[in-house]
């Protein structure tokens, strides 16, 4: 058990001070904007909750939010099972383990705009490897600047490329923590591979998989740079996810009020879903 000790506050004070400086002041700025109407020359007018009402009824917001949820759902549905499958197939010891881990982690260490630029180069229809293969070798017309379906496929494949390794590494960490004795017992009992997975491996991976889903949810829901560099939200508005739309409104049109209101709703949704995951997780921890 932990010792009750109010000195704990002294230990966390520097962290609280630094994070509060970065979080509370900008957050208050956003709250401020969200209830006002901006004109040039720093003129602000009280707007009340008007922006929130307009936003919640705006089709543009609904569309962006819908695309965002669709994107996150597809990402989770692909990356989590795929990551578990790859982790199960990975070697447990030997020379190849560090090689696998390092090469798999590599995409996550590339700056996000480079990821976008790299996939842009990779998918150019005439001179990119993927674009050339699809168009000239396989004969499948593929141009993500024209075709919304191709654009969606590309941002999804890009995200799978970029982040599946996170799930792999987490699931793998869970798998290597299972003592050999468990597998031996299963062999003696004549358990099938499926029941080994269902009753030994899956329960052991539960905590790490919850972390994986939580992290993948937060990051895919907040994704901005990679799809922005890759497709710029197009063609049309087809890949304009929530963050991209937000930046368009805030910096493109300089509509600070609506953008701020949108930020707060956006943040509230992320918070709510993450809180659900977090409660699930800490429930496991306390056991």
């Amino acid at each position: 058990m932990k010792t009750p000790n109010q000195m704990g506050w002294l230990f966390v004070l520097p962290v609280v001070a630094l994070v509060a400086f970065n979080a509370l002041i900008p957050m208050m700025t956003v709250v401020n904007y969200s209830v006002q109407e901006t004109f040039g020359n720093n003129i602000f007018l009280w707007e009340g909750l008007g922006w929130f009402e307009k936003l919640l009824h705006s089709e543009r917001f609904h569309a962006a939010l819908g695309r965002q949820f669709l994107f996150t759902a597809i990402i989770l549905a692909i990356e989590v099972p795929l990551g578990v499958i790859i982790a199960l197939a990975m070697p447990r010891k030997g020379f190849w383990v560090p090689v696998c881990l390092v090469t798999m982690a590599l995409p996550m260490l590339i700056p996000w705009n480079v990821v976008g630029a790299m996939w842009n180069i990779f998918t150019l229809p005439d001179i990119g490897l993927l674009g050339y293969l699809m168009n000239s070798v396989l004969g499948v017309p593929y141009d993500m600047t024209q075709d919304p379906v191709a654009a969606w496929m590309t941002i999804i494949v890009m995200d799978v490329w970029h982040w599946t390794s996170l799930v792999v590494l987490l699931a793998y960490a869970g798998l290597v923590s299972i003592p050999d004795a468990y597998y031996q017992a299963a062999r003696i009992d004549g358990a099938s591979p499926w029941s080994v997975f269902r009753y030994i491996q899956l329960p052991k991976m539960k905590t790490v998989l919850t972390i994986a889903i939580l992290l993948r949810f937060m990051d895919s829901f907040n994704i901005y740079t990679e799809p922005f560099v890759l497709t710029g939200g197009g063609p049309g508005n087809s890949t304009t996810l929530l963050s991209i739309d937000l930046v368009k409104i805030a910096l493109g049109q300089f509509d600070l009020g609506p953008a701020a209101a949108m930020s707060l709703i956006y943040f509230a949704i992320t918070l709510l879903v993450s809180w659900l995951f977090y409660t699930l997780m800490t429930k496991d921890d306390s056991k």
Binding site: N5, V12, V19, A23, T103, L106, M118, I127, W161, S263
Partner: protein, 265 residues
Amino acid sequence: MKKRSLIPILYVLFLMLPIYWLVAMSFKTTNEILAGFSLFPQTWTFDNYITIFTDPTWYWGYINSIIYVSMNTVISVTVALPAAYAFSRFSFLGDKQLFFWLLTNRMAPAAVFALPFFQLYSAVGLFDTYLAVALAHCLFNIPLAVWILEGFMGGVPKELDETAFVDGYSFPRFFVRVFLPSIKAGVGVTAFFCFMFSWVELLLAKTLTAVAAKPIAATMTKTASSAGYELGLLAAAGTLTIIPGAIVIWFVRNHIAKGFALGRV
């Protein structure tokens, strides 16, 4: 057994393909790139790399990025250590709420903060300094660092603390001499993660800098737009941004899996 290892091999191949394409393109001349498709560079050229290493606006981009990333890593790990210790050892008023509040900052979309951050750091006179970016990245790196370190510290039995205090260690001496060495791997992994997330984040880094502390990514964006899309140069610059990550990950390769699990396995 052999059929099983096909899955990781195929996956690694899939991961390497776009990287190969980037690297291959960085060794091609602009003419060759625009002339059409070629799987390997026909005429190898190092011009793109020479441009980057001789032009100060290019190589200073790298130096700037490395400076603010290192500053952020040091700040984040230093302040996160005592906090993680408190979260893992003590219960105090509001500890659970505080921990969750810290995590919420890892969830905030960076796009939300771009403009307010610009105003805040301009107001305190830090705009376009390394410190501004290093401090701004604390927003998401400190919560992460606390989270990972708390996981690793939770794995150290409390008896270690108690024995040390009975042996007459003062708290600071215990913390530095006994406790830190026992979570060495955790500290290394945490530093790696701070480096990684600060290195890959560019929206805030770009917003908070103009000239003096401009990250490499901003230089790349400028090239893409002003010099009529010099793909070879862009590819070379992109290739060079992969190298620091590849170097730091090699140091923590044995602890990386546990690190990604936030020390909780």
